[in-house]
């Protein structure tokens, strides 16, 4: 429970803290790592892995396929009339069943001030599915803007390496503040204010119903991410991501950290879109030997791919006990 609240607080913007207490197991592990043999062992393993220069794109490839397929299903349902998922990411029918994006449904109900029964049905299904697979996995595995954002990020990092762009960081509380602002604006004005700047809805509609002027706005956001601030929208603005963060706070599918395997090189934090969830990978920051990564994690698997020593792996909570 304490861990859950801590995860949520970090998602809302609080800086991750160095734990005050370590479990005996964690204490023993750190003692081992800090012993003379432990240090020598770590040094040797780091040298080995640097030589091997291991890097996989296994999860990324599946993820990109997932994003493309999900969005293509929407497009083809209309364009090729296969009628599988009709609508847009904001709301749709999946073979006749109502589905609704949790955040869009929330904005509509706040603005409209009615509990729309179809949206309740639609979001319950969606909440359950995304809770099962990890909440913000929506971001990494379904959101079309995430894919564009990833490409913009690659470009940004390429430019940054050449000194042509610099990452300007923001306080992560910005997203929380805007979350409250958009919810309040919906209630006060009676309009779904956030939709007008949401690149997710804009993209999803543009794919299915044709290009729109609104795509210029998406372009502007991507330019900000390429030249000014890495993953700006997803990190600091998007309320959809935060809504799904809450959904997945107790999700069974997680990325799990294994202290004993960790070489504390920080490669995972370098590739991560939300590196504050990987704070425990710093020396002395893990309070236990196995920790599930927090609510803000998008389950994108980049850390899993980049970790040379399998300290970070995908896990399904409780499955190990069952098997």
């Amino acid at each position: 429970m304490g861990r859950l609240l801590d995860n949520l607080a970090v998602m809302l913007g609080r800086a991750p803290r160095k734990p005050a207490f370590l479990t005996p197991a964690a204490q023993r592990e750190f003692a081992r790592q800090n012993s003379k043999e432990g240090k020598a062992d770590r040094k040797r393993r780091i040298a080995e892995e640097r030589e091997e220069n291991y890097r996989s794109h296994f999860w990324r490839n599946w993820r990109w396929i997932s994003i493309v397929v999900i969005n293509l299903l929407f497009v083809l349902s209309y364009r090729a009339d296969i009628q599988l998922v009709e609508g847009a990411l904001t709301a749709s029918r999946f073979v006749g069943f109502h589905m609704a994006d949790v955040n869009s449904a929330l904005q509509v109900m706040l603005a409209y001030k009615h509990v729309v029964i179809n949206l309740v049905i639609g979001t319950s299904t969606v909440v359950f599915i995304w809770w099962l697979v990890g909440g913000r996995s929506f971001c990494a595995w379904a959101c079309p803007y995430h894919l564009l954002g990833e490409w913009a990020e690659m470009l940004h990092l390429w430019l940054a390496r050449r000194g042509l762009a610099k990452d300007h960081q923001f306080h992560r509380g910005l997203r929380t503040a805007l979350y409250v602002v958009f919810a309040a604006l919906a209630v006060v004005t009676g309009y779904t204010v956030f939709e007008v700047i949401s690149p997710v809805g804009i993209l999803s509609r543009a794919f299915t119903y044709g290009a729109s002027l609104a795509l210029i706005w998406v372009g502007v956001l991507l330019l900000i991410e390429v030249f000014y601030s890495r993953r700006f929208w997803c990190r600091y603005i998007c309320p959809i991501g935060m809504t799904y963060g809450f959904v997945g706070a107790t999700a069974p599918v997680t990325v799990t950290y294994d202290l004993a395997n960790c070489l504390h090189e920080g490669k995972c934090r370098d590739v991560c879109m939300v590196p504050h969830v990987l704070e425990m990978t710093k020396i002395g920051y893990a309070d236990d030997v196995r920790i599930n990564i927090g609510a803000d994690c998008t389950r994108c698997g980049m850390c899993v791919e980049v970790c040379p020593s399998k300290a970070l792996t995908f896990d399904i909570k409780g499955l190990n006990k069952l098997l």
Partner: protein, 256 residues
């Protein structure tokens, strides 16, 4: 290192000033994004466009709130009359509308499919028959252009050979709308708006004078008009002699 970074860097104080700038930047971003999202008000308040909404649309303010901008209504329309608004319509972004001149609603789906498709009730589910719909009211906007008022007939495709406007003709195919271009007319007196009106008795042609030899007639819109806009779609005059006033309610400004 950029000029600004060098400007702000002082031994030992760098971190603190960086932190301060990060907070300042975040506050500015919060303001900018709140402000940008509020720009959506402008087209609403200025009423740049009074849009013709699909059948069953609830009052405009509630409609903009309730619509989840998914376009499911677009997908079910057999005559592809529904389009989604762009970002220049502010909070109307992604909401459905019809352009009656390009393609009005002719209810060829029979059961108001768009209403059934709507997940939120922005298109009210209380509507079950086309006669209950109230999208607007038709109005004879250009009486001088009306062929019937000039006593003239009409021959050929209603909106030209190249239009791809769709309409269902019960006599041709009850289940599939065809293009107007494939269905030319040969009328002694143009009565297209009356003939193709999907609602019985919503428009009639009335005599202009008591003179029996006077062929001229004028279209008269009645209270049963639902504002589907198909009279505006099919009117062969350019621009249309009869138009639909979106969101107008009876009694409308008739006899203009």
């Amino acid at each position: 290192m950029s000029f600004f970074d060098r400007l702000f860097e002082r031994d030992g104080k760098k971190l603190k000033s960086e932190e301060r700038r990060r907070l300042l930047r975040s506050a500015v971003a919060a303001g900018v994004f709140t402000g940008l999202s509020m720009l959506g008000f402008i087209p609403i308040v200025r009423r740049w466009r009074e849009r013709l909404r699909p059948p069953g649309a609830i009052a405009e303010h509630e409609f903009l709130a309730a619509c989840i901008k998914c376009g499911q209504c677009v997908q079910v329309c057999p005559v592809q009359a529904i389009h989604l608004a762009d970002i220049d319509e502010g909070y109307g972004i992604g909401t459905p509308f019809l352009d009656a001149r390009k393609q009005g609603c002719d209810f060829s789906c029979d059961a108001v499919q768009c209403v059934l498709a709507c997940p939120t009730g922005a298109l009210s589910h209380d509507i079950s028959a086309k006669e209950q719909v109230r999208m607007g009211v038709a109005r004879l906007a250009g009486p001088d252009r009306c062929l019937a008022r000039q006593g003239r007939g009409f021959k050929g495709a209603a909106r030209g050979e190249h239009s791809n406007i769709l309409h269902r003709y019960m006599s041709v195919n009850r289940w599939k709308p065809i293009e107007l271009a494939e269905h030319p007319y040969d009328l002694e007196l143009c009565d297209l708006c009356v003939r193709e009106c999907p609602i019985n008795g919503a428009i009639t042609l009335e005599k202009l004078t008591d003179d029996a030899s006077d062929k001229r007639r004028t279209p008269v819109v009645h209270q049963s008009c639902v504002g589907c806009g198909f009279c505006e779609t099919i009117c062969p005059a350019e621009p249309a002699a009869i138009v639909v006033d979106a969101r107008a309610v009876w009694p409308a400004q008739q006899g203009a």
